[in-house]
């Protein structure tokens, strides 16, 4: 079973991972975006980590709802509302249970991903974070490791796609050949589940 501390660790591990990969995310965002994806997410997840360290909420759902609200208030750009909505709606779907199982998390995360799709209007294949999240949610029923691998493969598979949403879409054909930074950061979020499960911070 996954308790509130697991979800706090999930956010903490994500923050560390975003810290580590910030330069790479920003580099991916340069040729097809505006070179700030790493620094923006870093600001948001640091705020999440600090808030959860100071006063961790009591339930899994509350941890994610708080994390989502903080991302909306600190990140800006499209990533803020999109990642914020992902976590907030996943948290809401978890309800106020003190512990949830992996199946409930998979179901809740699917609700979160659906909310992101509705907000941003992106479908699979549009070269966005959805291309990592949808396969990850599909694989989450097997194991966190399977979800991590699916998200990572989904992110890599955005390279040959033409962007149809967000700022990369203005490039038309020239967005082809670049891995999507949003799909890449989404894969980091999913990969953090594995480390959080292993007890990492």
């Amino acid at each position: 079973m996954l308790d509130a501390d697991f979800f706090r660790r999930w956010m903490t591990v994500t923050a560390a991972s975003v810290d580590r990969e910030a330069e790479r995310l920003t580099a991916l965002d340069s040729p097809i975006g505006d070179a700030d994806h790493g620094s923006n997410l870093q600001r948001g997840f640091r705020a999440v980590r600090d808030a959860l360290d100071k006063e961790p909420p009591a339930t899994p759902g509350a941890v994610l709802v708080q994390a989502g609200r903080l991302l909306i208030s600190t990140v800006g750009g499209a990533s803020g509302p999109l990642y914020g909505t992902l976590l907030r709606r996943t948290g809401k779907a978890l309800g106020d249970a003190a512990e949830v199982d992996e199946g409930q998390l998979a179901q809740a995360l699917r609700a979160g991903v659906d909310a992101v799709r509705q907000l941003g209007g992106a479908a699979p294949g549009d070269k966005t974070m959805i291309d990592a999240l949808v396969p990850a949610v599909d694989a989450l029923g097997d194991s966190f490791a399977a979800a991590r691998d699916a998200a990572s493969e989904g992110a890599v598979a955005t390279t040959p796609l033409r962007a149809r949403k967000g700022r990369a879409s203005y490039l038309g054909e020239r967005s082809i050949g670049h891995q999507d930074p949003g799909a890449t950061s989404a894969a980091l979020l999913i990969a953090a589940l594995v480390d959080a499960e292993a007890g990492g911070e």
Partner: protein, 330 residues
């Protein structure tokens, strides 16, 4: 790339502190990132709130003041501000007559202003929104996020600001803003990429001897790269793209806008070519504004914006304005 900064993390806050020191007529909340007219809320007046990523100065903070915006919300560099800023700004300027959000059409700005509008309405503030999307370089709106908001933002903020200052009601100010946007088209070119403080190196690689046509204002590359052209050839390419999409039946306002690193000497020379081409195409010109208004950090290049105006819009354009970035008549 050398920059006149302390550290990248504080560029926006540092600029706001400097702006506060230079403009005592503005209330600059550095911590919450909101710039407000000190006399706001003005009784009976519709509040005008805009915002967007930093790096486009003087847009938007430089356009806060009598005759233009009531408040502006600066985000991080090239990053939309967050809903908290917009709600705070709306609450500060609402006199009970409602607030108009002026939103440039980028995914981030649209999502954050949408969230803010909902939250502000929860607080009992009447909110209307107008989207600015004037950039004709984005042609394939079905497979993109749609036309970007660029130079026309200045026309919308100035003209709607004049309407609001006259005491026109929210629905009227909103209609004027929408009309200005619908009547406006822009096209931009870059001679160099820009450098964001966070990255410290140019956002894309534009070799000597080449230029990028159809750029946006966030250091994103444009649609097409060509060997370097003369000022006259660039004016023709820009106006071809604009006039393909807009056939002015009445005089136009012309904004010849620098992207940040192009000297005024070159901008005025470029304006001479723009006026020549407009003359050749039989487009009557009502007013011309030349300068750096909607910039993209240290990008070299320029954009052209045309706005078709009737007598009423021209009257509102000519109305007095007093802001850090634009002032006449008062």
């Amino acid at each position: 790339m050398k920059m006149l900064i302390n550290v990248p993390e504080t560029v926006v806050a540092d600029a706001l502190r400097g702006m506060a020191a230079a403009h005592p007529e503005l209330a600059v909340d550095v911590e919450n990132r909101v710039i407000v007219r000190k006399d706001a809320p003005v009784a009976g007046k519709v509040g005008l709130v805009s915002g967007g990523g930093s790096g486009h100065e003087p847009l938007h903070g430089g356009f806060v003041g009598p005759g233009m915006l009531s408040a502006a919300c600066p985000g991080e560099v090239f990053t939309s501000p967050v809903p908290d800023q917009m709600v705070r700004a709306a609450a500060a300027v609402d006199s009970g007559a409602g607030v108009l959000f002026i939103v440039k059409n980028y995914t981030g700005d649209v999502l954050n202003f949408d969230m803010a509008a909902e939250l502000a309405e929860d607080e009992g503030i009447q909110v209307a929104k107008v989207l600015v999307n004037d950039d004709v370089a984005v042609t394939d709106s079905l497979y993109t996020a749609g036309r970007r908001g660029t130079g026309a933002t200045l026309f919308v903020e100035k003209i709607a600001g004049a309407a609001a200052d006259e005491g026109q009601p929210l629905e009227r100010v909103e209609a004027v803003a929408r009309q200005v946007n619908e009547n406006s088209r822009s096209f931009g070119v870059a001679l160099s990429a820009c450098t964001t403080p966070a990255k410290g190196s140019p956002t894309f690689d534009l070799p000597d001897g080449e230029l990028e046509l159809g750029i946006g204002i966030h250091g994103e590359p444009g649609r097409e790269r060509r060997p370097m052209m003369t000022s006259g050839e660039i004016a023709e390419a820009a106006l071809d793209a604009i006039l393909d999409d807009l056939s002015p039946r009445s005089p136009v306002l012309v904004l010849v806008n620098g992207m940040g690193a192009t000297p005024l000497l070159e901008l005025y020379g470029f304006n001479a070519e723009v006026q020549r081409v407009l003359g050749e195409r039989g487009v009557p010109v009502a007013r011309v504004l030349v300068g750096n208004y909607v910039t993209s950090l240290d990008m070299a290049g320029a954009s052209v914006t045309l706005c078709q105006v009737d007598e009423e819009l021209l009257r509102l354009w000519d109305a007095p304005v007093r802001t850090a970035g634009l002032r006449w008549g008062m």
